[in-house]
Symmetry: C2
Subunit: 123 residues, 2 copies
DNA sequence: CCCTCACATTAGTGATCTATAATATGACTA
DNA sequence: TAGTCATATTATAGATCACTAATGTGAGGG
């Protein structure tokens, strides 16, 4: 597996609302699955799947203790990265939000709704 | 639009191989669309769409000069973030790659291939 | 052992994203 | 102003992802 593919997979781990909520929840201390489910008002199966994803992406790690399983961030770097997202978003927030008056902004048809119409600019 | 949704959209901007390649290409200096297309051996339409995406996600910005359009990273924070991805991946690489012997690792059916089978651990 | 709890797994479906091909648009040039 | 170049846009089909519901599995307690 190429480096680039690993990188994409890792980043995709963060690219989901539910997963970001989970990470927010365990950012400072480990939590059991049920605690996470309650915290984000999610459903057990769904949360469990996202936790598996986060684990597979190298973002969290798990520790079993009796019948409970405690999840936490893999290491401090992950926490820094989460904080960095917020920092950078500070700058960019308006911009990102603005383009989203018209829904999504990724590839495919959605993307173009974000573009301001091309203007005549001649230099 | 909620903060969390903005954050997801922003991060999704990075969560694609083609887009990461584009960013790599313009990491240190601005490039025209055609230069980017050549650099990543992509196709014009596809690259153009990804650039629109990156722009809408607040990751790059564009500058027109005659019939050329030059793209570059929005600001230094974005560059730092890109570098941070690599730093963090340094730690995590093996882990992420390992789980991917069996293909993908995100939500849905793919996710579980990553999990090591539950072992009997009793404490 | 049987039961329950905490959690993982699977299957199925709908939603979202990506790539390709075709076409459109603005800018420069002859 | 007709043509060409650089880039954007649209449509569409296929791939990938996320949610729900149902079921499976290991751990601990009676």
């Amino acid at each position: 597996m190429e480096y680039m593919d690993i990188k994409v997979k890792f980043i995709k781990g963060f690219a989901d609302k539910t997963r970001l909520e989970i990470l927010e929840t365990i950012k400072n201390e480990e939590k059991t699955v049920q605690q996470i489910v309650d915290a984000i008002k999610g459903n057990q199966s769904n949360v469990s799947q996202h936790l598996a994803c986060l684990k597979g992406c190298g973002i969290v790690t798990a520790r079993q203790e009796g019948k409970f399983i405690h999840y936490r961030l893999l290491d401090e770097h992950i926490k820094s990265l989460l904080e960095m997202f917020d920092t950078v978003l500070g700058d960019v927030k308006q911009q990102v939000a603005a383009c989203d008056k018209n829904e999504k902004c990724l590839c495919g048809r959605g993307a173009y709704k974000c573009l301001t119409k091309r203007k005549k600019i001649s230099l």
